[in-house]
């Protein structure tokens, strides 16, 4: 393991920064993506056909487009339409859009776990539909989707490797490995360290998700 220790002596701080950038990109795309996904889910429930149609198209497009293709479109094609977005916001925007589509998809199935009888009961109590969504349906749906959302968070974390496709000022883990592999013979050691950091982050998220799920899961 001499390769790894000499690598860490040379690139230790760079790995620290890369890990932080990976975490930062993950959070900055997951949180807005999650919130946007909730908004899309609620709006899709409203009895407005044009809105439903467009939002369904939104979800299908961003669920099915490869993130790289979306990122490349945002970075290289949008400037031709006079829309200039800096590299880092471009990565975050890409992941946010994709994350929001998947959130909406999972929340939809979370909503389906809520029994219709509850909604009927709430209506009978005289609650307004929007109040029912916010007080009865959504809380249960959110508690039902902790596990898929955990997987989504891990997927977003792994997708931050996309950042290596644009010239960011800082380097994420994948970009750092590709730079070290180009510059020196320490490619394998660099890959091992980066892989360990990714796996550790993923396991940490999975553990946190499982703990949260145990706390909030509704036993039916």
């Amino acid at each position: 393991m001499g390769g790894v220790s000499s690598l860490l002596a040379d690139y230790g701080p760079a790995f620290g920064q890369a890990l932080l950038l990976t975490w930062k990109l993950t959070l900055l795309s997951f949180v807005p993506g999650f919130l946007l996904g909730i908004v899309v889910t609620v709006l899709r429930l409203l009895p407005l056909p044009p809105l439903r149609f467009v939002l369904t198209a939104y979800v299908e497009i961003f669920r099915n487009i490869p993130s790289v293709a979306l990122l490349i479109f945002i970075v290289f094609a949008l400037p031709d339409l006079n829309v200039l977005i800096d590299y880092e916001p471009s990565v975050i925007l890409t992941l946010t859009l994709v994350c929001s589509a998947f959130t909406a998809d999972y929340l939809r199935s979370g909503i389906n776990t809520v029994g219709g009888g509850q909604v009927e009961a709430a209506l009978a109590l005289g609650m307004r539909p929007l109040r029912i969504i916010s007080a009865v349906v959504m809380p249960q749906a959110l508690r039902a989707v902790v596990q898929p959302m955990t997987s989504l968070l891990i997927a977003v974390m792994l997708s931050t490797s996309l950042a290596s496709q644009v010239p960011l000022p800082g380097r994420d883990l994948t970009a750092l490995v590709s730079k070290i592999a180009t510059d020196s013979a320490a490619g394998i050691a660099a890959f091992a360290v980066a892989a360990a950091l990714y796996v550790a982050t993923g396991l940490l998220i999975a553990w946190a998700g499982a703990t949260l799920d145990k706390k909030v899961r509704i036993l039916r």
């Binding site: 409203l46 044009p50 809105l51 487009i65 293709a69 094609a77 996309l162 994948t174 490619g187 990714y198």
Partner: protein, 266 residues
Amino acid sequence: MSRPLEDILFGDPSPRAQAVNRALSVFAAALLILLAAGIVFRFHAAGQLDARFWRFFALPTTWAFLGKGLLGTLQSAAMAAVIALGLGLVLLQGRLARLRIVRWPSIAVIEFLRGTPTLLLIYVCFLVLPPVGIKLSTYWMLTLPVGLSTAAVVAEVYRAGVLAVPRGQTDAARSLGMTDIQVFFAIVFPQALRYIVPALVAQLVIVVKDTTFGYIVTYGELMQNAKVLIANYHALVPVYLVVALLYCLVNYVISRASKRLGRPVY
């Protein structure tokens, strides 16, 4: 099948509520049309609607070239899927093994392949392996990493299916004197597959998406061919738009298929 929740929530509206919904629908439609018009105007203002940016889509050669790219994508995705399904089965056997010496390394391999970005594995095949003397063709530089990382996910999908098969099935088969291998392949696995076919097909979408990275190793898939087209015609926006739509279409068809397969078959 009960009514969808939104029908219960907003179903049987009063005449007044119907009128409000209609008015809101018209308002929403107007807003969305305005948005679409704004986007089209953006294209126009930036000169992207010029005929020279779109004319080459009338040429059969353009579509032949894009078709070739799509074929490359599908070839790589199909092979990656075969690797994933096969290796996933091997990893599953290791994961379920009673011997710790087999089980633990299998768990380690699964967690490792699942926990690293596919893109990182592609860079390993592209940048790290060649200096060590392992040279792969561009096809394998893309297909192998995609196949490997999907195999780990598929192994876990298989496992979920196997765990869902009632335990009595295994016990009954054993009591009939079947060997472990017979029990697995004749009784447990076919039933497990029933449960997980939709999840397996959904993995195909992810495989197709991952092959987009082919342009990194210059393997001739859809994205790579799009880059070549752009270099020829300088039509960045139209080409990327068309290619993005093609990807959406292919993946939409696959995920539709997985939803169909998800319906109960018996």
